[in-house]
Amino acid sequence: MFNLKIVLTGIIFVSLMAIPCFAPAAETILTVQVKESQMRTTPSFLGKIVTRVFYTERVTLLEDRGAWKRVSKGRAQGWIHASALTARKIVLRSGKTNVRTGVASGELALAGKGFNAQLEAEFRNKNQLDFTQVDRMEKITIRSEQMESFLKEGLIVPPQEGDL
């Protein structure tokens, strides 16, 4: 009953159609949208760090697993969490260009203006605010290993898949 030839041709045809979705033919470039992030050997915050990436740096998408993306930068390859990346281009730009006209849609402009350190300083002086505590607070950083032992010590166990 089954015409094997037609089935096989069909499967091959459909598989070819599906290729762009699993291995993008056109390169997908993503931009780092956090000050600093890490490229890791495995899709996990416990993965070994391959290299560091910084704000506005571009990486090439190699594999997409939703929350984690395998990307490359130069010769380095590794996993970065999706929340550290954006599909929008972040443009570092100074000078006269009007943000409205100078930036294509889908791009975010780091215009010469905008809310930046200079405006913060003005705002601080005008309102006599003290940023010392904000700076101190921003220095408190917990490492992944500390988080691991915190969870372990508190017997905090994530539910197994299917429990939810």
Binding site: M1, N3, L4, G10, I11, V14, M17, A18, C21, Q33, V34, K35, F45, Y55, D64, G66, A82, S83, I90, S94, G95, K96, T97, N98, V99, L108, L110, G112, K113, G114, F115, N116, A117, Q118, L119, E120, E122, F123, R124, K126, N127, L129, D130, V134, M137, E138, I140, T141, I142, S144, M147, F150, L151, G154, L155, I156, V157, P158, P159, L164
Partner: protein, 304 residues
């Protein structure tokens, strides 16, 4: 005409392959997923949230992550001009361990300069979160928490406000447009004095939009319920009991003074929030106390 089986098989295979691919792409592009997979939110609710986020995307979403960071820092400085930090390194370390671990289990573990937490020295029952990832919790709020799970619920709720970008949405739309469309002076590292004065005023007004909403008026009820929903997702995912959120709200209900200027003023009543949460978690069940976890929690609370 009789269609051969083989064509049918090919067609089914095609549909499965292509629709599977479509789902993967969607899942990858939805940055604001609040946990449809966990079954906490049904697809209709998720669609509504995504739709509203998309509609607003042309406005506050157009701030660069760096601009959001500067907005958040200034909001933090305003909070700290009204409340003193609680100077105790151990308790602040503990709240950062808990808070940063929760943030890492969320849908948005990475934010421009990371999540940071601080206890405020006040008997008010209050908590604030800035768009840049700074979270403040008062001593009074800590005293409403009887377990680490309950404190985790408070922090998860604040993390949710950040991820859902509730703070940024308090900024007046014209201010956002102004901030995003003003021209820069060629070759100048600094703004011209006139421009600078205008930009500073705009920045200042934007910060005040956020702080007055956060501290004085409160977000909409809808935002508070959304933050509770996301908090339930975060708590479940990491392994805390989401009923702790209900337990904390019950305790808060007893402590809040009617007419007070804190959570009593800026949040929907604990009872109305509990009713909504129970729709997600089922009826309230007392949170089981895990001995080791409770011991470290009490060690910290004793320091207050």
């Amino acid at each position: 005409m009789k269609v051969p089986y083989s064509y049918f098989i090919v067609a089914v295979f095609a549909i499965i392959t292509l629709s599977g691919c479509h789902t993967v792409q969607n899942a990858a592009t939805l940055a604001t997923s609040v946990g449809t997979t966990t079954g906490v939110i049904d697809t209709q609710q998720a669609a509504a949230i995504q739709k509203s986020v998309a509609a607003l995307a042309k406005t506050f979403e157009d701030f660069t992550p760096e601009q959001q960071y500067y907005i958040g820092r200034s909001v933090g400085a305003v909070v700290l001009s009204r409340y003193k930090p609680y100077q105790n390194d151990q308790i602040n370390q503990y709240i950062n361990l808990l808070g940063q671990t929760l943030a890492q289990a969320s849908d948005m573990p990475e934010i421009f300069n990371g999540y940071h937490f601080l206890v405020l020295d006040s008997a008010d029952i209050n908590a604030f979160a800035t768009p840049s990832g700074l979270v403040f919790v008062t001593r009074g709020m800590l005293e409403c928490c009887q377990t680490e799970d309950a404190l985790a619920a408070v922090l998860a709720h604040e993390i949710a406000h950040i991820q859902l970008k509730h703070g940024l949405q308090a900024i007046n739309r014209e201010r956002i447009t102004y901030a995003l469309t003003t021209t820069a002076t060629e070759g100048a590292k600094a703004f011209g004095s006139q421009e600078l004065a205008e930009m500073t005023k705009n920045f200042e007004d934007s910060i005040m939009n956020i702080t007055s909403t956060m501290i004085n008026n409160g977000y909409s009820r809808a935002f508070e319920y959304q933050a509770d929903q996301s908090a339930v997702v975060i708590l479940r995912r990491i392994g805390y009991d989401p009923h702790a959120l209900v337990e904390m709200l019950m305790a808060m209900g007893k402590h809040l003074k009617p007419g007070g200027a804190d959570f009593a003023k800026t949040h929907p009543s604990p009872q109305s929030r509990i009713e909504k949460i129970e729709k997600l978690t089922g009826s309230y069940k007392k949170v089981a106390v895990v001995e080791q976890r409770q011991a470290r929690f009490l060690r910290m609370i004793k320091r207050l």
